[in-house]
């Protein structure tokens, strides 16, 4: 019983996506699939889920060879794949989305509206999300969307569930719910293939792990037997040490070198405003639970929620839209690559030089040099950007902005869904930028990420947001996961006024 995958290969033209991948998973097992960008995890997942076809190899599910020709076909066999890019319809309601693969009907033909609400309600109740019923998906926060995505998968009663990076944008309290749901599915004998980059979750949720590298399956190990560093070495093929060093010495900022002073940052969903002082060479991490205004904070600074007034190096100015933000040498890197990052149908060169040439009107003499300097894996500069893996696409976007030599870099969960190697590369680029005297503000749903990136430079802070306010500012050795966690879930409401005075000081 279970699923046995043997010798699967898939090529796109000359590029080998998967070569002779093999693994077997038992009934009731949660298997992590771990690998760097472009290692073939997603391709393998899509092949099993019937979204793309394989070139060769065999898949046997419950002792029967399967060869799904379409997702519909796979769903009939209760093989469900859920992934970030392939799921929700923003024009439909939450319950319609959850039920769309099997819409309840009455008298055999007509839509049963109550049936849809009931069916969706049952799943959402397990997730504590019943208040989402009746809303359109376009109104939801990204994190809530991921939960709805999972709900959509669960109502289909999967026997084999493939989760492709669904948790990379979930916040802590959601991860616990996901954990509970998956354990429940496991007890019913469901096989779960879990693709994620978050080590902590993998250790909590998964029983075993299969490592993929360059389209090959390197090996399968019981999850608890391998340390994080060992797994990393297996992924990259050479031994490397992760950099989770906490609390290097920090210098507290003095009032003198305030670089940007923003008196009023609107947080629209809470109707609150916050103020912020940004110093030169500083990395500010923004932490907090899901949707407490973190990304609205950075988007507002980029002029995305209307005109915003600030003092840059003592000079008053107003930023009314991203164009004027770019003029003041701001940069914005979003975790939502498809929406705010890459120009989909364009090649690498166009993507990397777009801001410099089109906004700054500077001619870029060698886009190739630019691409090479950010460790991007690519074939040639005339490649369409979507041919690259997600992490490499994000590196191109980062390269585009860093090449403009920004004074203030705003990053909204920039490492969402990219692997640890690429993530480390990006962090180092950000730290380099800060060392050159620019400021970096980075939002992340991963506290570990904030702890490590703030430890990479001398001057850094982590601000924790709660209900549209800055509830706590952590500096120096106070920046630890435990402290961030404590501040983002204040049991008794903290004295916000007092905390905010600290910001003004």
């Amino acid at each position: 019983m279970g699923i046995i995958i043997s010798d699967i290969s898939k090529r796109y033209g000359a590029v080998v996506a998967i070569s002779r991948a093999s693994m077997s998973v038992e009934k009731g097992e949660i298997r992590a699939i771990l690998g760097g960008n472009g290692s073939g995890k997603s391709t393998l997942a899509k092949i099993i889920g019937g979204i793309i076809s394989k070139d060769s190899g065999k898949i046997a599910f419950n002792d029967r060879e399967i060869n799904f020709t379409s997702p519909k076909n796979a769903k009939k066999n209760r093989v469900i794949i859920t992934s970030q890019e392939l799921s929700l319809f923003t024009n439909l309601t939450v319950e319609e989305n959850i039920c769309i693969c099997d819409i309840p009907v009455k008298t055999g033909t007509f839509i049963n509206k109550n049936g849809i609400s009931e069916k969706a309600g049952k799943v959402l109740e397990i997730m504590n999300l019943t208040d989402l019923l009746g809303k359109k998906v376009s109104e939801l926060h990204p994190n809530q969307q991921y939960m709805v995505e999972l709900a959509k998968a669960i109502v289909q009663n999967p026997k084999l569930l493939i989760i492709d990076e669904i948790t990379s944008a979930l916040y802590r309290q959601d991860v616990e719910i996901v954990d509970k749901i998956l354990k429940n599915l496991k007890s019913q004998g469901c096989i779960i293939l879990f693709i994620s980059h978050r080590m902590e979750e993998l250790y909590n949720i998964c029983d075993s792990v299969t490592i993929m590298r360059n389209g090959e399956t390197i090996g399968t190990y019981p999850m608890q037997e391998k340390s994080e560093d060992e797994l990393l070495s297996l992924m990259v093929g050479t031994s490397m040490v992760s950099y989770h060093g906490e609390g290097k010495s920090h210098i507290k900022p003095t009032t003198k070198d305030i670089f940007i002073h923003v008196p009023k940052i609107p947080i629209q969903s809470y109707h609150t405003t916050e103020s912020l002082n940004i110093c030169k060479g500083e990395i500010i991490g923004v932490a907090g639970l899901q949707g407490h205004g973190q990304s609205e904070l950075v988007k507002a600074l980029y002029g995305l929620s209307g005109i915003i007034y600030m003092e840059i190096e003592g000079k008053k100015c107003a930023i009314s839209n991203p164009r004027s933000a770019v003029k003041h040498r701001f940069a914005f890197i979003s975790g939502d690559r498809e929406r705010d990052g890459v120009f989909n149908e364009r090649d690498l060169k166009d993507n990397v030089v777009s801001v410099l040439e089109l906004v700054r009107k500077q001619k870029v003499s060698s886009p190739k040099e630019l691409l090479d300097s950010y460790n991007i894996r690519y074939d040639n500069t005339r490649q369409i950007i979507t041919e690259l893996s997600g992490g490499n696409q994000q590196k191109v976007v980062v390269g585009r902005w860093l090449s403009t030599d920004p004074k203030l870099l705003l990053a909204d969960d920039p490492t969402k869904g990219i692997d640890i190697k690429a993530r480390t590369d990006l962090h180092q680029e950000f730290a380099k930028l800060a060392e050159q005297g620019s400021a970096v503000i980075i939002v992340s749903s991963d506290d570990d990420e904030l702890v490590s990136i703030t430890s990479m430079v001398e001057r850094s802070r982590v601000i924790v947001m709660y209900e549209g306010h800055i509830s706590k500012i952590l500096e120096g050795d106070d920046i630890t996961r435990a402290n961030i966690l404590a501040a983002s879930m204040p049991v008794a409401k903290p004295n916000k006024i007092k905390e905010r005075d600290k910001v003004h000081a």
């Binding site: 519909k72 392939l86 799921s87 693969c101 009907v105 007509f110 839509i111 107003a318 009314s320 839209n321």
Partner: protein, 329 residues
């Protein structure tokens, strides 16, 4: 109560309905006549446009489009005239023409759904094919249909409901039934994102096939109505209808990017268009200025409805104003 208000405010048909009522008022103000017979003739002359608008709205909702519907209307008209000229009974001619129109839609559906050719290109090509066939059958306006056909069209079913209303109801009711089926939700899902629809196990080919066939059927009904009001054949009669119907759908809140809006909007959008034409005509302007003025008002109408339905665009425009304020400070 507040909830109902909010729902009405969000209703995508609302801007088109308001525009239509507003211009109806203006028309009544200008011409000073508003009688039942005016209403009757207004509906019967606009029935063809409404039917085509319903058809085109359906194809736009599933993320495609169809610019061949006007040619299908022409084809229907020409087939009826030709068959009647060959001594077929009117009813046989009408039913055969409707069958051909539906088959023409099916043909579009096969190319778009099964062969996956871009809908705009496909229907651009087929529109030429259809009007080519029409010109081949009837190279110049002419032919005769017995007048009882026109009398029937202007009569009332059971002395109660005007026949044109029933003709509009045919495609409308079919569409409303679609919307009551799981098919309806899936069609809107498809309109939003093809890839996601496919990954969700939705039968993309079948939906496209069915919707384009439906659009062909709706245009066939339009052709039947237009033949009844002319009682003659004209190989150019549907030429302007394709684009006008798309404009009507957009005014009615149907988003060209797919998945948003409904056929009610398309109906009111097309009513607004024709009342607009009536106003411009009754203002006694020279015919050169007429279409210019008409187009300007149409453009304003499209901008209004898009602004009312698209929050993001609205925000952008309001932000532009705010920016000006900011610079003054």
């Amino acid at each position: 109560m507040l909830n109902i208000f909010k729902k009405v405010k969000k209703w995508s048909t609302l801007p088109a309905l308001v525009l239509f009522l507003l211009f109806l008022m203006i028309y009544i103000g200008i011409s000073g006549k508003f009688t039942l017979s005016f209403l009757n003739s207004f509906i019967s002359t606009n029935t063809p446009a409404i039917c085509v608008a319903i058809g085109v709205a359906a194809t736009i909702i599933i993320g495609g489009t169809d610019i061949s519907l006007g040619s299908i209307v022409t084809l229907t008209n020409v087939i009826i005239v030709t068959l009647v000229g060959k001594n077929y009974s009117v009813i046989t001619a009408v039913l055969l023409a409707l069958l051909f129109a539906t088959l023409a839609g099916l043909f579009n559906g096969l190319l778009i759904g099964v062969m996956r050719i871009n809908p705009l290109l496909t229907t651009f090509a087929t529109s030429t094919v259809f009007s080519g066939i029409a010109l081949w059958l009837l190279p110049y306006p002419g032919g005769m249909i017995p007048y009882f056909y026109s009398d029937w069209y202007n009569s009332k079913f059971l002395n109660l409901i005007p026949i044109p209303v029933i003709m509009i109801a045919l495609p409308l009711v079919i569409w409303l039934i679609f919307m009551k089926l799981p098919f309806g939700i899936k069609a809107y899902a498809l309109g939003r994102d093809v890839k996601k629809a496919y990954a969700s196990g939705i039968n993309v080919t079948a939906i496209r096939l069915l919707i384009h066939t439906f659009a062909g059927f709706a245009s066939g009904i339009a052709g039947i109505c237009i033949s009844a009001s002319m009682c003659a054949g004209n190989p150019k009669v549907g030429d302007t209808m394709s684009m006008n119907s798309i404009a009507a759908a957009v005014i009615g809140g149907v988003s060209l990017s797919g998945g948003v809006g409904g056929v009610w909007g398309a109906i009111f959008g097309s009513l607004f268009l024709s009342i607009l034409i009536s106003i411009v005509v009754s203002a006694n302007m020279s015919s050169y200025v007429q279409s210019f003025v008409q187009a300007i008002i149409l453009l304003l109408g499209v901008i209004c409805t898009v602004m009312a339905s698209d929050k993001e665009i609205k925000n952008k425009i309001t932000r532009l104003w705010k920016k000006e304020d900011g610079q003054n400070e």
